[in-house]
Structures are given as structure tokens and as C-alpha cells.
């Protein structure tokens, strides 16, 4: 059952690419097809990164444990779309002008940060197999795979820095990413607070009531 479901999800993840391909074949990519391809692959990279990051919170909050079985697939699709995005840049946009690309990476901060986000994903894709989890050991593997937090942040900043004036779309991504990262911080901070606190948390809360609220 889950194998069939996995196949369906896999095909669905390929749909954005299929749609692009179909539109290109029909010559319906508009006046600036390369721009459309660049934006679309970039958008889907961010979407898959956020979907990957939402698996754990969803699983914990809903108790639907089977969700974890899709996390790797979503993560690898994020990598798949970022590779397409990068190929679009070096092939269609720059046409292998490596001099111009190096200048871009060094001088244009939105390219620098985007390229960083891409590079950070490479070790994650490489060590995504069960064999590598075994070889590295769960704890170390997990530590490495936390790089996705930085990669996704870099991706959103990359988008934010490239728009001219209308930051609404990058802001949407930033809000979702912020919520997903805040969940991690809350999970990470909670046991520490309770363990280190001299009083039970509710007591601490009560003490705080009498104090003036911090500015800002």
C-alpha cells in the first residue's frame, strides 16, 4: 500500500518539471522562457525544502509516524530541482561563461548566498542512503543533515535579495521557514529550560509576571 502511495507521490513531485517541459514543447513559456525556467526551478527548490522541513513537526504534532518515510524523497527532490536551477544558470543563462560566473559568485551577494545554499545540499544528497546512515551512525548523520536549516535559510535570502521591490513572495517563504525553524528551537530549548530550572516552569512563569516587560 505505502509503496503504491510512494510511487504516486514520486510522480506528483515530477509534475512541475513535466509541466515546464510540456509548456516548452508547446512554445508557451512566454517572451522570456529562460527566466520562466529559472524562476520555476528555484520556486520548486524552496517548496521542496520547506516540505522536507515540515515532515518532522507534522509527524510530532499529528502522530502520523508514517510521514517520515517520505522525508528523504522530498529532500532529494529539493536537490533535484536545485540542480536543474543551477544547470539553467550555468547553461541557459551564462552559457558556460565561467569567468562571468566566478565574477557573479564573488561579487553578487544573492548569487553567493544561493550558491552556498546549493553547495550545502550536496553532502546531504550524497549521504542520503541507508548505507550512509549506518556508516555514519544516526547521531552523526543527523548532525550533518541539520545543514538543511542553513541551506533553506540561504535559499530564502537568495530570493529576497534578488527581487527588485515586491518582496511579498520571498516573505511568504520566510514566514513558513521561520515557523519551521522556531519549532526546532522550541523543541531544543524546552528540555534545557525544564532541566536547569530551580523551580517547575509554572512557578517561573508566575515570578515573571511581577516584572516589567522588556522593551521592544
Amino acid at each position: 500500500m505505502i509503496r503504491w502511495f510512494k510511487l504516486v507521490v514520486f510522480m506528483a513531485c515530477l509534475a512541475p518539471l513535466a509541466r515546464l517541459g510540456w509548456k516548452a514543447y508547446e512554445q508557451r513559456l512566454g517572451a522570456n522562457p529562460i527566466e520562466v525556467i529559472t524562476h520555476s526551478t528555484g520556486d520548486w527548490t524552496l517548496i521542496f525544502l520547506l516540505v522536507t522541513l515540515s515532515i518532522t513537526p507534522l509527524r510530532k504534532l499529528t502522530g502520523q509516524l508514517w510521514l517520515i518515510r517520505f522525508r528523504r524523497m522530498f529532500g532529494l527532490f529539493a536537490f533535484f530541482y536545485v540542480v536543474l536551477h543551477f544547470l539553467t544558470y550555468i547553461w541557459l543563462d551564462k552559457f558556460f561563461d565561467f569567468h562571468a560566473m566566478l565574477a557573479d559568485i564573488a561579487r553578487r551577494r544573492f548569487i553567493t548566498v544561493g550558491f552556498t545554499g546549493f553547495v550545502l545540499l550536496i553532502p546531504l544528497a550524497f549521504t542520503s542512503t541507508s548505507g550512509w546512515i549506518r556508516r555514519l551512525g544516526g547521531r552523526r548523520w543527523q548532525a550533518i543533515h541539520r545543514l538543511i536549516y542553513f541551506s533553506a535559510t540561504a535559499g530564502v535570502i537568495h530570493y529576497w535579495w534578488l527581487v527588485k521591490a515586491d518582496i511579498r513572495k520571498p516573505r511568504e517563504y520566510a514566514v513558513v521557514l521561520g515557523a519551521l525553524l522556531a519549532y526546532r528551537i522550541a523543541v531544543w530549548a524546552k528540555p534545557k529550560l525544564t532541566a536547569g530550572a530551580p523551580f517547575p516552569p509554572f512557578r517561573k512563569e508566575r515570578e515573571r509576571v511581577g516584572q516589567p516587560a522588556p522593551e521592544g
Partner: protein, 319 residues
């Protein structure tokens, strides 16, 4: 095959544009005549001639211009469906649909500031000031793409001379219509509406600077800046203000909208210059729509005749 691509359609099946336009005109005319007969009024009273002049109407008596480039013009479809027109949307593919019902008549333009006679003119009076010319210009967007457009209009200087600016007028400022009900993009304060652009007097008087009301031999489509815009081909596209309602002469440099929004990225001059990069991207090359490989961007977008306007100026500082 289920869908036929344009290349599969034999050219004999494609109706020449003037023929189907005539057909449309005939139908519209017939409908109007019918309506007029029904209400019992004169056709001329029912609908003003300027209203008929809208919607893909051909502009008569367009003269060729020696300023035109011989480069291949960008397909009409691309120029009318790929528009940076934030008053409607920040998505370049949306203004075509969102501007469909934009009302360009009646339309007046206020001419004020340092002029001998402040006045408000009907746009059709302005259009008739001088014979229309076709100017095929390169048009370079600050984002790094370019098109070649056969604009229709006449030199902006024709209007300025008639407006009789005072001797102390040093700049011309253009203001775009502010009407959020008709221009849905203005509901969001992406930019500080209304859109304002400006030129130094010498730039505005240069014969290349065009006061434009048409393209491809027809009345300007709404999404391309109807009913009246300027086209300044040696500057980045955003300098060419659209849907102009006010032309003001001043002695101080106007604050143009993009300059206000990001002063370190968009200057007042904004001349096309391959040697001065945008802080976030290179301006050395551009993609001509329809071409695969990028081409080098030319100084002043290839309009070297304007160089004398800037002698002695540091164009890196005055970007």
C-alpha cells in the same frame, strides 16, 4: 496531433491583420449604427471619435524616421505580454489581462510648473500636435533583457516647445496616473505611487526622446503605457514613464520613483551603461527576447549621439 502549433498552420489560413481588423471595425460600426438608430440619436453624439480610435486602431499617415534601427523587431505578442508595469502587477505576464478595461479616454494631461501658460490638454489634442513617426528603437530593461519596438509618436521637444517653459526650467517631470480602482497594483505600496520620472531639459529636448502614443502602426495597447508615454531609448526602460497625466517643468532635479525606492541601485540618469553594474547584477550583457545567447550591452544602448549631453560628467557617479 491534438493541438496545432503555429508552424503547422498554412499561411494561407492566416487572415492578414488589416483584414480582420477591418472586419471588426465593420462589425463595430454596424452595431453602433444599429444602436444609434434604435435610440434615435446621431452616431457622433453617441460615441466620441476618440473612443472609436481605441482598440488596435491603425494610426494613419505614419512617417518613417531616420532614427530607426534596421534590427529585427520583437514579435508584437512578446511586447504586449511581457510588461514591467507595477501599476497593474509586478508579474510581467499579468498587465496584459489586468489592463484590458483600463480607460484611456477621456484623458487629459496637465502641463504646469515653470511654464509661461499652465494648461490642461486633451490627449487627442497633444497627439495631433505633430505628424506621427515610426521610431524603431532598442529598449533595454534595467533587469537585463531587451526588445526592439516600432514605436509611434513624435519628438518630445515638439510638445515642450509648444508648452513654452520659462528660462529657469531645468528639468521635466512626468507623473503617471494614480487610480487604484483601475490600476490594481496600486493597492499595494510596492512603490511610492504615483510613479514619477524625470529628465534634464537637454535630454528631454534631444530629438531621440519620443512622446509616444502607438506601436506597430497602431494605437498603444494599455499594457504598454496608453494613452501617452515617453520613450527614452538610451536609458533603462523604467525612465520611460507610462500613462502620463502631468508634465511639470522645474528648476530642481525631480526625485524619480525608483531612485526614491533604492537610491544606491537606481540613479536619476540611469543611462544604459555596460561599465556600471547594478549593485546586484551585471549590466555588461543583455538577453534580447527571442534570442538564446546574451549579447553585449552597448554604451547609451547604442545611441552614441547623446554622448555630448554628458561631456565632463562622471557617469559612474552619476549613474
Amino acid at each position: 496531433m491534438l493541438f496545432r502549433r503555429p508552424s503547422d498552420i498554412p499561411s494561407s489560413e492566416i487572415t492578414p491583420k488589416n483584414q480582420y481588423l477591418n472586419r471588426r471595425k465593420f462589425l463595430a460600426g454596424a452595431a453602433l449604427a444599429g444602436a444609434a438608430a434604435a435610440v434615435g440619436t446621431e452616431l457622433g453624439e453617441l460615441i466620441s471619435p476618440s473612443l472609436i480610435a481605441q482598440a488596435n486602431a491603425k494610426i494613419d499617415g505614419v512617417q518613417k524616421s531616420s532614427f530607426s534601427t534596421s534590427e529585427k523587431t520583437t514579435p508584437y505578442n512578446d511586447v504586449t505580454n511581457y510588461n514591467n508595469y507595477y501599476e497593474f502587477s509586478t508579474d510581467k505576464y499579468e498587465p496584459a489581462g489586468l489592463a484590458k478595461n483600463f480607460k484611456t479616454r477621456p484623458w487629459t494631461v496637465t502641463i504646469d510648473g515653470l511654464v509661461s501658460k499652465k494648461q490642461t490638454l486633451d490627449v487627442d489634442a497633444i497627439i495631433k500636435m505633430a505628424p506621427p513617426e515610426e521610431r524603431i528603437y532598442r529598449h533595454r530593461c534595467v533587469e537585463g533583457w531587451s526588445i526592439v519596438v516600432p514605436w509611434v509618436g513624435f519628438s518630445l521637444s515638439e510638445l515642450i516647445r509648444r508648452a513654452q517653459p520659462l528660462g529657469k526650467a531645468k528639468f521635466v517631470e512626468f507623473t503617471t496616473l494614480y487610480a487604484p480602482a483601475e490600476m490594481p497594483g496600486q493597492h499595494d505600496r510596492i512603490l511610492d505611487w504615483p510613479y514619477v520620472e524625470g529628465l534634464r531639459m537637454g535630454e528631454a529636448m534631444h530629438p531621440l526622446a519620443l512622446l509616444c502614443f502607438g506601436m506597430y502602426g497602431e494605437v498603444l495597447p494599455n499594457q504598454d503605457g496608453a494613452p501617452l508615454r515617453v520613450v527614452v531609448p538610451w536609458k533603462y526602460g523604467f525612465k520611460s514613464a507610462k500613462a502620463i497625466v502631468r508634465i511639470r517643468f522645474t528648476d530642481s532635479q525631480p526625485v524619480n520613483t525608483w531612485n526614491k525606492m533604492a537610491p544606491n541601485e537606481y540613479g536619476f540618469y540611469s543611462n544604459v551603461n555596460p561599465h556600471v553594474d547594478h549593485p546586484r547584477w551585471s549590466q555588461a550583457t543583455e538577453r534580447r527576447l527571442g534570442e538564446f545567447l546574451k549579447r553585449p550591452t552597448l554604451m547609451f544602448n547604442g545611441y552614441d549621439q547623446v554622448a555630448s549631453l554628458y561631456t565632463g560628467m562622471d557617469l559612474k557617479k552619476n549613474f
